[in-house]
């Protein structure tokens, strides 16, 4: 860690690519460096055939055979016509200029590829290729061979939206900006001294020009606000868009009347300015992390297709949705079990860490049921499907109450609760002004009424939230905490209960600590043990291997690995057995009362002792717990694993925390639901499929990821594993953000009071509106933006 890539200077992360003893962040950089090195620099810009790229023969076997399946192929291709195909592939490892360079030169590697281009923020590669010269499968295999492995899964088969709304918003901002500048130009002469000497024709001309330019703004750029206001009213909610819509229409009709009647030029500049600022605020808030996905469901976790076996033993590739009960499927090493199935042949060693939270792979015997979602570690196995994918235990859990969360949101956020009272107060003020003038000077009745509605249009109020939350979200993103949208900030501020998952969330999922207990071992003995365990890929063996610092120098003969029992081999002439108590002691004693994972070592005819295996906790865990307690959050731990580490965890979490073990995914979800019913606002932090139900049920669900682009279940935010220690600080910053919003509200209310002061007296001139409205918006935006930046800098180094 901490190594910098020799070629591009970015951090190499945990697994640098080594070549020539130099570290690289990715294979792209390595390849470029290789070419530079071999060709002595001058050829870098001259290379046509990329002689430097050596396609490494990675044996992918039939892994991508499903890409030959016509249905799958047609779903994946964006376009296929006259033998030319176009496909967009998601390649999560894209991260630097070398990656772009290499991927855009695919056509030099295979003549069948016409061109390829990279969309960097989305990490997509679109490739145009000649279908008859290179098949989709060959294309994907080619990319895999240069280590850019595309991620293809069921989610990608359902057609994706092409970012249309983003383009729409840009268009609206462009059009509103265009109108704004022109309309301001036409209205400007009105505000200069001596404007009353302006000839009638000019006023008319300018008025009508503004009117024409404003039409697209009112009827196209601002239509989202009308729609939202309408939707809100239909649900009997006065959201912030109601007073905005009211303001826009009053401005428009009052100005239209002025222009037609020839009595003035109207307030059209204020109107366009208002819409423009609102749109910019929306754009600022909508900046999302496009390459990250917060909406993943089981479909993204499962492969697209599996290998099925027919009666004669022939292999076919079948799309996962078409798997039926009773099908026979073949699962290779590291592949997922796609549906609940019964083991027919082979020895299964299933890693359920992502599904149930159990850290150590489980052995299954023939005839046993395997649940969907487990990953086979070891040799090929043959299964008989007992339930289709959609009906499998895990996917069922996932599909329950999917959309519940969305309907609740939007209703009770801070801005809408303010806007309700705001709208009512404004309407009352406007009505009383109208009534007053009706008795004193009826000519001013309507004007006073509309003036109040115009000046009270809550532009500044509406901009507060996007700029404060949008700014907070960006600051979080810079610090390695990515939120789905800005609304999450408000929920995060409300939480009072924090629930942690264990495996993979507060422990590191693939690292374990091994501590030897027993006789003191000599360096030689340690080295012998290490030589033996180095032969096994079992997580426990790896943990022991990593805990021994002596080098593994000895040859191992007669190495044997007995699944779920242990390993055995002859090192320097003496037999060593390492494994479970039964395996090593030879006695079928009752398993240990305590569930802790111990690995016994037997050498030279006696048991030397055992390795106590413990999980490694994430850095910063104690700090996070301590800080959370300081702010009086209630803390829970829900683990799918056994309670072997209860005492260790109790030390970290303290005795007042409830630690619950052996929780099934359904238990977790129900636990969260119960807490919510008892009036708590819950933050759930998890990482795997087993937490998916709980993450969805909770008010805010966060996942922790070592690699933010890899799979994580549907959630509201993703936090980078290395930033876990800052969790409490992130939560505290949301409190600051809410306070900033409240102060901004006060500022905008102040402007409104001043403006309404003019309006009720019936002397709101276009000039006052044109000055007051932009100033209030700009000062609120500046205040929000500036204070968010300062405070988040102060809180997180």
């Amino acid at each position: 860690m901490g190594l910098k890539c020799l070629h591009c200077g970015e951090s190499c992360g945990k697994n640098p690519v080594m070549w020539d003893d130099e570290p690289f962040c990715c294979y792209g950089c390595k390849t470029v460096y290789q070419i530079l090195n071999e060709k002595k620099l001058e050829k870098y810009y001259d290379i046509q055939r990329m002689p430097g790229i050596k396609l490494e023969k990675v044996d992918v076997g039939n892994k991508y055979a499903y890409l030959d399946n016509e249905d799958v192929k047609l779903k994946l291709l964006d376009f296929l016509d006259g033998g030319i195909g176009k496909v967009s592939l998601y390649v999560p490892v894209i991260h630097c200029a070398s990656c772009i360079w290499l991927l855009e030169n695919l056509h030099t590697l295979n003549a069948g590829i016409i061109s390829s281009s990279v969309n960097f923020p989305k990490k997509l590669v679109s490739v145009t290729f000649k279908e008859n010269e290179v098949s989709l499968r060959q294309l994907v295999e080619l990319m895999a061979s240069i280590h850019y492995i595309p991620e293809i899964n069921l989610n990608h088969l359902d057609k994706k939206d092409s970012g249309k709304s983003e383009r729409d918003l840009l268009l609206k901002i462009g059009i509103a900006g265009f109108s704004l500048l022109n309309v301001m130009l036409y209205n400007f002469p009105e505000y200069l001294p001596g404007s009353n000497q302006l000839s009638e024709t000019f006023v008319k001309f300018f008025g009508w020009m503004s009117f024409i330019l404003v039409l697209p703004v009112v009827f196209y750029c601002a239509n989202d606000y009308y729609l939202s206001a309408f939707k809100g009213l239909r649900h009997k909610v006065i959201n912030i868009d109601v007073p905005i819509t009211l303001g826009i229409f009053t401005l428009f009709f009052q100005s239209t009347y002025d222009i037609i009647a020839g009595s003035g030029i109207g307030y059209l500049d204020s109107l366009v300015g208002l819409v423009f600022f609102l749109l910019v605020g929306k754009w600022y808030q909508s900046k999302t992390y496009r390459a990250l996905s917060f909406e993943r469901d089981y479909k993204s976790y499962f492969p697209v297709a599996v290998t099925t076996l027919d009666d004669e033993g022939g292999e076919h590739s079948l799309s996962i949705a078409d798997i039926k009960e009773g099908d026979t499927i073949l699962i290779r090493n590291e592949e997922l079990v796609p549906a609940d199935a019964i083991l027919l042949k082979g020895s299964a060693n299933i890693d359920y860490s992502f599904v149930t939270g159990e850290a150590i792979p489980v052995e299954k015997k023939q005839g046993e049921l395997l649940f969907a979602g487990g990953r086979q570690m070891g040799r090929n196995i043959i299964l008989k499907v007992s339930k289709s994918v959609k009906q499998s235990y895990l996917t069922q859990l996932w599909n329950q109450d999917r959309h519940q969360k969305e309907t609740v949101s939007n209703l009770n956020n801070v801005i809408n609760s303010v806007s309700k009272y705001f709208t009512i107060v404004v309407l009352i003020v406007a009505a009383s002004a109208a009534i007053y003038w009706q008795f004193n000077n009826p000519l001013l009745t309507i004007f006073a009424f509309t003036s109040v509605l115009i000046i009270a249009c809550p532009c500044a109020l509406a901009l507060t939230v996007p700029f404060t939350f949008g700014g907070t979200m960006r600051e979080f993103g810079r610090k390695g905490f990515y939120l789905k949208n800005a609304e999450v900030i408000e929920y995060l501020h409300k939480i009072d209960t924090v629930i942690f998952d264990k495996t993979g969330t507060i422990t590191l999922s693939h690292t374990m600590k091994a501590e030897f207990k027993g006789e003191l071992l000599s360096d030689e003995q340690l080295s012998m043990i290490k030589s033996l365990v180095a032969n096994s890929a079992h997580p426990l063996s790896i943990a022991i291997k990593n805990s021994i610092s002596q080098p593994a120098v000895y040859e191992v003969e007669n190495f044997k690995e007995i699944p779920s029992l242990g390993i055995s081999g002859i090192v320097r002439g003496s037999r060593i057995n390492i494994g479970s108590k039964i395996f090593v002691m030879g006695t079928c004693a009752i398993p240990d009362k305590e569930y802790s994972t111990n690995v016994y070592v037997f050498a030279k005819n006696k048991v030397l002792g055992y390795f106590k295996i413990e999980n490694v906790y994430r850095q910063g865990l104690e700090e996070v717990i301590r800080d959370l307690k300081k702010y009086h959050y209630e803390i829970f731990l829900l683990s799918g694993d056994n309670d072997a580490e209860k005492s260790t965890l109790a030390k970290i979490f303290g005795n007042d925390t409830r630690l619950l073990f052996k929780q099934s995914p359904t238990d977790k979800r129900d636990f969260v639901r119960k807490l919510k019913e008892s009036g708590k606002t819950v933050l759930m932090i998890g990482d795997g499929l087993n937490d998916a139900g709980a993450l969805m049920e909770s008010n805010v669900g966060l996942t922790i990821a070592d690699d933010i682009y890899s799979f994580s279940p549907a959630c509201d935010g993703i936090i980078e594993a290395g930033r876990f220690g800052n969790l409490t600080k992130f939560i505290r910053i949301t409190h600051t953000s809410i306070n900033i919003v409240k102060i901004s509200f006060l500022i905008s209310f102040f402007y409104n009071v001043v403006g309404i002061g003019f309006a009720v007296q019936g002397n709101l001139s276009p000039l006052v509106a044109a000055i007051l409205m932009p100033i209030s918006s700009i000062s609120v935006v500046a205040f929000a933006g500036f204070s968010v930046k300062t405070f988040s800098k102060k809180k997180i180094d």
């Binding site: 290379i47 969309n119 960097f120 989305k122 268009l171 001309f205």
Partner: protein, 69 residues
């Protein structure tokens, strides 16, 4: 003073031209990816030739030093 009418009309036509250009650039997806074009322009020339001739013609070998069209 009536020259102002003329100026305003000319002004709106010129500004409208830019608006049309902006609309076109958004619609053709130029704002979808604002990172890679900046990097792409630093790559070698042969790449540029081949991507402008997307219709399937491969660049000739002796073409590679030719400036782009």
């Amino acid at each position: 003073m009536s020259v102002i009418f003329f100026l305003v009309i000319v002004g709106i036509i010129v500004a409208g031209g830019f608006l049309v250009a902006f609309v076109w650039s958004v619609k053709s997806g130029q704002y979808d990816d604002t990172y890679s074009p900046a990097v792409r322009m630093l790559f070698d020339d042969t790449k540029i030739v081949s991507s402008t001739e997307q219709e399937g013609e491969k660049p000739e070998k002796d073409n590679k030093k030719k400036p782009e069209k």
